[in-house]
């Protein structure tokens, strides 16, 4: 899987590179031109669209070219709660996914290391959710959290839900759905890091009278950090732009909309393309800033 490959960093062994720019160019050109046309220039389109102004004719969905920077102020002014909520949800869901994934990755990569069959079986279980449609999985959580489901009734019978209180539509339901959907993206890179962990280092720690907790925090965890960093990025970035879990038709309610939901609504329902584009540009800018700060702080710039 690519996610595993992502966690590997620059560990691939070096082979001698042939010096032939001409062949390299022929091989690279089609794909890179493709990305230029359909990945890079869309960013330009996004910025251009984000600065457009409503058409003189007043027709819905028609905009004229302009440099209306106030579109950004308008978007922030209108949707600040949704913007902040997206990052808060993404942060909590990423931490939850880390708490769930790390022990799984540790168990498969370290404990099950000498049992290839068990390891293969557990890895298949980790990626199993990928094989069922992302939307069906999220809808399954809607069924699980529905008011009539056995799970909800059980929680209710424990007295954890007040009379007339629902799970669907709460922050909890949305964060649970977001966490769930991205667990494999967290587990696989951490597993790749832990799989290569030299057990002798851990044993050395124990020999030197470090207790298990200390050995974990001083040896195991730092060595698995590259995996943790790729995992958190692979989880945080897609979650911050997701709008399926938070949608009212799935796990969300009236107060759970994220940036993605606002972009979707502006693009399709009210056809306010400039506002949708301005929000997308800001989301991307925020992610670039956050990710580069995070990567610099954790000192793994070579990961990129």
């Amino acid at each position: 899987m690519a996610f595993v490959a992502l966690g590997q960093g620059s560990s691939a062994k070096k082979t001698e590179l042939t010096n032939s720019s001409r062949v390299a160019f022929i091989l690279l050109a089609p794909g890179m031109i493709y990305l230029g046309l359909f990945f890079l220039t869309p960013f330009v389109s996004l910025v251009i669209t984000s600065l457009k102004t409503a058409s003189m004719t007043g027709e819905i969905g028609m905009y004229d070219y302009a440099v209306q920077i106030s579109n950004y102020a308008y978007a922030v002014d209108q949707y600040l709660p949704q913007i902040l909520r997206s990052f808060a949800y993404a942060l909590v869901a990423t931490l939850m996914a880390l708490l769930i994934s790390y022990p799984i990755a540790y168990f498969i990569g370290v404990k099950a290391r000498n049992k290839p069959l068990l390891q293969a079986l557990l890895l298949t279980l980790v990626i199993a959710p990928f094989f069922i449609s992302f939307l069906l999985r999220t809808f399954a959580w809607k069924q699980i959290f529905s008011n009539e489901s056995p799970v909800t009734q059980f929680i209710s019978s424990l007295g954890l839900l007040a009379e007339g209180q629902y799970i669907i539509g709460t922050d909890f339901a949305v964060i649970a759905g977001l966490t769930y959907n991205f667990i494999p993206f967290m587990t696989l890179p951490i597993y790749t890091s832990l799989e290569r962990l030299d057990i002798r280092l851990v044993e050395a720690g124990a020999d030197l009278y470090a207790n298990p907790a200390k050995t974990f925090w001083k040896i195991t965890f730092p060595l698995s950090l590259p995996g943790v960093i790729s995992g958190t990025l692979l989880t945080f970035i897609p979650i911050s732009g997701d709008y399926v879990s938070a949608s009212r038709d799935f796990l969300g309610g009236s107060d759970t909309a994220m940036i993605g939901n606002v972009v979707e609504a502006n693009f399709f329902r009210i056809q306010d393309y400039p506002t949708a584009s301005a929000l997308s540009v800001m989301l991307m800018a925020a992610i670039v800033i956050l990710v580069s700060m995070y990567v610099r702080k954790s000192g793994t710039e070579d990961l990129l």
């Binding site: 690519a2 490959a5 691939a12 082979t15 590179l17 010096n19 062949v23 390299a24 091989l27 690279l28 089609p30 890179m32 493709y34 990305l35 359909f38 990945f39 869309p42 389109s45 996004l46 251009i48 669209t49 769930i100 022990p103 799984i104 540790y106 293969a120 557990l122 279980l125 199993a128 959710p129 094989f131 069922i132 449609s133 992302f134 069906l136 809808f139 399954a140 809607k142 069924q143 529905s146 009539e148 489901s149 769930y180 667990i183 974990f216 195991t220 970035i237 897609p238 732009g241 997701d242 709008y243 399926v244 038709d249 940036i259 993605g260 979707e264 693009f267 393309y273 992610i287 990710v291």
Partner: protein
């Protein structure tokens, strides 16, 4: 072992975590057998009808067919483009390597909603109407980097001496590529193609922005969720799940048999 967090704590936690990850799959499967009157939210009664008549809701099967067609076409294109890039990166020296790597990394680090809205804005500005082919274009764009990463890992393990031997035996460049390099890369290319197919088949956000009136399976499920997803969608989801798991099992069993053969 001394460093374990208690002997039973970790396995118990892992078992619970797996139950958590598998519950929604079980739900999707179970509710494909539900007899539905109004919405498929609450369990009513067991029936095989949904499985026997899975195309009774014609839109479901049509959407499914579209998704398969789009996934096949976009996988063929992105695997071809991506393999060429992976070979260039793994084999050749050239100027602009850092820029190339950055351009390949970016699509994996961009939220789907940004890529989807950007491409849609571009189609809008240029005046291209959206449909089947704009979805294909979008899918090739976002799967390409994943193909490169997967194939590149395989290129890194190639022994260049095998190709040298071919050249020493007077094979021309084309023969060396098709008789030596390509067969050795094939497992990596197949893995990349499978990943690309899976990503394309299951994509929703980028697809929604670039599909116009065309439906795909995920788009159908999203739209249907407001009224309640028909059990036929659960049937298709379960069927895809079973086929995918079967493929993974076959691949893994074959790999372990090969490893056994190598050892003996």
């Amino acid at each position: 072992m001394k460093f374990s967090l208690g002997k039973y704590l970790l396995p118990t936690y892992v078992a619970l975590a797996f139950i958590f990850t598998l519950i929604p799959i079980a739900y999707t499967f179970v509710f494909s057998f539900n007899k539905v009157e109004k919405s498929n939210i609450v369990w009513k009664e067991f029936t095989f009808d949904n499985w026997l008549n899975m195309c009774d809701q014609p839109v479901v099967c049509e959407a499914f067919g579209n998704s398969v067609a789009i996934a096949i076409i976009s996988t063929l294109i992105s695997t071809a483009l991506g393999t060429a890039i992976a070979i260039a990166l793994g084999r050749y020296k050239f100027k602009g390597r850092a820029a190339t790597n950055l351009l390949l990394f970016l699509p994996m680090a961009t939220p789907e909603v940004v890529m989807g809205a950007g491409l849609a804005a571009q189609f809008l500005n240029v005046g291209i109407s959206k449909g089947f082919w704009t979805i294909v274009v979008a899918h090739v764009m976002f799967t390409l980097s994943f193909v490169v990463v997967t194939v590149k890992a395989r290129v890194a393990t190639l022994d260049p001496r095998l190709e040298e031997a071919g050249r020493d035996l007077y094979a021309n460049a084309r023969q060396v590529f098709w008789r030596i390099t390509f067969p050795l890369l094939l497992p990596g290319i197949m893995a990349a193609a499978m990943l690309s197919f899976a990503l394309s088949f299951d994509d929703f956000i980028i697809t929604q922005f670039n599909s116009g009136p065309e439906t795909t399976f995920p788009k159908f499920v999203y739209t249907a969720a407001a009224r309640g997803i028909p059990p036929e969608a659960n049937v298709i989801g379960s069927l895809v799940f079973i086929i995918a798991i079967a493929i993974v099992m076959v691949v893994q069993v074959r790999a372990s048999l090969r490893a056994k053969k190598l050892r003996s």
